[in-house]
Symmetry: D2
Subunit: 333 residues, 4 copies
């Protein structure tokens, strides 16, 4: 279950401290000009060390395409790629080998599989998301070159409960060896009417699945979201009207989707992220035999996932849209 | 894209005013005793007319199994079933044939497919969810007979912004011809450690996809959810400890899932539902040519989806869990 | 695993002696005019009792569409359908309840699932293929209305080793209570260049899977097939040439497919079918406890599957092509 | 459509003259000891240059595992791997850039995708099959370590119509710059009763799909195959009997599968391969504009695919079986 999408599909692999992360993008149509600089620039947005908000780990995160591209264009065959892991300090993790870090996947992986790759969290590390950014960048290129003027823009809108002083709150948490949660808001303009499938393939269901598959995500809402649960229908229905010969809606409380299908208005949603589970302070826990112990994590860690999660949110949204676009090519005779 | 699940899979079909709704449950193991009374009782929970909170439409919602069962037990072959539509008043919809009801799927379906079955909302009607309840009931039977003591319990916890006087708020909205939104909370106890897949098949991602595929759902959060976005790691990490020889956590802010995999604690989540889009008051809108008009819907409609959405939320959760259980049978040598 | 296809997908259900057979066609584009007479005429070709070559069982095989069609056209939503079982004599099977008929699926089903629906072979009966004919007819309608002049024609070309006197050979076997095998050849003209996927979705691989999923099929070959294994490259390569401004091949030993993708020439293939396993003479066998016994089957059975398998072969081919067509809509930017 | 399998799944990528071939094996259970020497030895069987029967091209075909393995065992997470392309002579293909080699995929790829990677056949090259051998070797390790004593053995049984002097026939063809077809027979012992799914996932359908996805394969038959089409039921039914307390069959004309499900007897099948399309003699053809020209291929090519196809047939069979095994874990309560 390491594949996402129906037509435009990403299959990914790799662990935090393995040789590489990698992926295969299958179903990308032939003829897309691969702007490698753009792909790399997207990856760079996720890379640590971009600002003092993020971990000081150095990860080059250089994508290397291995297949599916010829003379600069996609050939219609699968696009394999890797990102080398170059700066791992696996020994940083020797002390967590036999213990379970609180609110990490150490315990569940060990129980499910019988053992785990404990180095840097193995497959459960958010480092895996770099592959999604590569696929997301390819999805953006596809949508653009297919002639759509779609703009996917995510940003941090809340950290630690505040929508102001976001950077300071993160820096303060970092100083204390603590971590902090927050909210990323994503707005997508330019999606034409008709993308998404009516029942289980609703556009919002695919977006929700995409977002909740990102490490540390705890919630998803679109349009007016949870706030809409407090309202009366007479307050929030989006009234249709004609403007410049096109049918549109006066308001957009629906968030650009009705009945699972895009309606031409902006799609917007919010994703809640918990604080990073890795604290630099000592925490009590148990070892694999259930004996009480303490864990003090070494290494270089983010105090907040948000700065680096912004391009991941955009990328997963782009993958969902590229897939919905291609699937919608088959909706009419 | 009318199939949900990987191993335990529901494929469903049918429109609000067609002959039947129906579905095929594929991948249900052989040997499950089919308690038809239980399945029907689950369906009855969703049926309208159970209380004065819901529409007075009469829908018998009698399930008829067509295959996959022999001598009272599942045979391992696909379980087909239908629910007859018996009380449609299609003429109630003649007046919306050529106009787009606000915040409904009328516009998006027409644009996507070129035309639409306008009677009772066609495939976009929430009536489709009856099939999910049948599959959910089968999933519950499977989990129980497989020896798990899993309890899935959903309930309305908020309507119109209030967690009290829920019934009164709904009745008041109904009197006014208005509708109201709310929140359903679901708690699941008894899930063993190890269900769910690490990356794109995270248990929370599948639950989110399941919930957002329900009509009128606008948001999903699990564990501490959006509230967790306001917190610091030091406040919310779930500390492991041993209790009675078993590894457990002091708190359960994670909501029973870590790294996409169940950790043995209760899984809990909340789903936000918008107010029903169908008002009994007159609303402005446009017709298919974009000309301004008004819509006044006839027929019998719920003032709030929540009372009837409770069993749907439980059912979709049960399907996700049954699928995760079967998939987890292949996780180790 | 009762679903076939990627975009145009058939999910089917039902047993020989259950209430109905049925299926769900998902992914059929909106706007296809549903010529129900044509669908029924295709079903009639498979129905027993069409000639003295086939069983005298009466099966009305009347298809009833349940969803996905409005005002005579497909709506883009799933097309559910059923075919009622009306002429079962389940008591004919009481004597095989606890024994294993030679070369039937009785033994394997019982071992796999723990028990089996023994009436008429249950799910293993070829009666299941009626659903494929419905989906095949819909696939043919889709391809035609999409503007392709594709002609799919299957016929019996060999029975009992002879390509002549086919009817007599079948009748002679029938008289003796014996059964006989044979070969169906299928020719498909009018498929445009470009359908099929390069590696695992090769057109011939999908056709092979489709044909070998038909009861009693033992082999598949396309183009020159097994005969080609005897040849030298210099004898069988298909030389390209231009004719009337179009690139074509002098010969068509390849069978219309190169590298898994249609090349515009006729696609042709042959399917080998074994003799029906049900003999009307007494055969030794064992019961479920392994004790020796004899089986003498009652009931009405075909002496040869071929006459009724012809429309099934065509139908499965049509489904494969419809799916390849829709998938190919996404192959280029 | 570069993914094969349901639970045990191979997704592969790469072109003949790209940087690497590669793949991702998803769904392999945790705990399988990865005997890399065995995997490499399987790859070596496919590698050219093993005997004077095959091309003199040097391809190291060294597999490098990238993920999913820790401390020598599979972790349950996806197993990425690459095989470097080290000995390409891309310039050998400059002269075929704008022309279509007879019976190759040049024409169909160009028509489908608008252009093609012409170097060494690109994605249509049989070099792609190296990845299948890696996945097949992993499947064999899984089956063995799961406690099954399954033996998958393929061999060349016919070349150029002869079952004798196979090596000489190939060498003679090679001397002439010609190529020759043949048949590979595969026998599988030790498969327990119950693997395979009844309708579309029949074991023989999956094997047929697997085999026909191999380059140059033109036909598949299992059990008595096409010969069975000449027979009467009274001649070929497999009579059940008890032997040493186990239910078995006197004969095995069915080829170890009944109703799509393994019956415990040996599974055997034959695959027909056409002669390699690449001749070292001059052939007429057309260029991309339809103008007549001639093609004389340079480079090092096999005169017969069979010697190197033997491990590919075994590998694809192993993948089908591993997948059927894992899926069968979910067949009963």
């Amino acid at each position: 279950m390491n594949t996402f999408g129906n037509i435009f599909r990403l299959t990914c692999f790799g662990e935090s401290h393995g040789i590489v992360l990698g992926g295969v993008i299958d179903g990308c149509p032939a003829g897309v000009l691969v702007d490698e600089d753009f792909v790399q620039s997207e990856l760079d947005r996720r890379r640590p060390g971009q600002s003092n908000l993020t971990t000081s780990r150095k990860e080059a995160d250089q994508v290397e395409f291995l297949s599916g591209i010829f003379e600069g264009k996609t050939t219609g065959t699968p696009i394999g790629f890797v990102i080398y892991n170059t700066n791992q300090h696996s020994s940083d993790y020797d002390n967590v080998k036999d213990i379970f870090r609180p609110s990490h996947a150490d315990f569940t992986y060990t129980q499910k599989y019988g053992f785990r790759d404990y180095r840097g969290g193995g497959r459960s590390s958010a480092r895996e998301t770099a592959c999604r950014v590569v696929a997301g960048a390819m999805a953006k290129l596809l949508l653009k070159q297919a002639g759509f003027n779609i703009n996917i823009h995510a940003e941090m809108t809340e950290v630690g409960g505040s929508s102001e002083n976001i950077e300071e709150i993160i820096l303060k948490a970092k100083e204390k060896g603590d971590t902090v949660g927050g909210i990323i808001t994503c707005n997508i303009s330019g999606v034409p009417v008709g993308w998404g499938e009516p029942v289980f393939g609703k556009l919002q269901a695919n977006l929700a699945s995409a977002m909740l598959s990102i490490n540390a995500a705890k919630g998803f809402e679109y349009g007016m979201g949870f706030e809409m649960a407090k309202k009366f229908g007479s307050q929030v229905n989006d009234i249709f009207e004609s403007r410049d010969g096109e049918i549109t809606t006066r308001t957009n409380n629906s968030g650009g989707i009705q009945g699972g299908i895009s309606n031409g208005q902006d799609i917007y949603f919010r994703v809640a992220f918990k604080p990073v589970a890795t604290l630099l302070t000592e925490q009590p826990t148990v070892d694999k035999d259930g004996n009480p112990t303490v864990v003090k994590v070494r290494g270089r860690h983010d105090a907040c996932v948000l700065p680096r999660a912004v391009p991941i949110v955009e990328s997963m949204a782009a993958i969902v849209l590229a897939d919905a676009y291609l699937l919608n090519r088959t909706s009419r005779l």
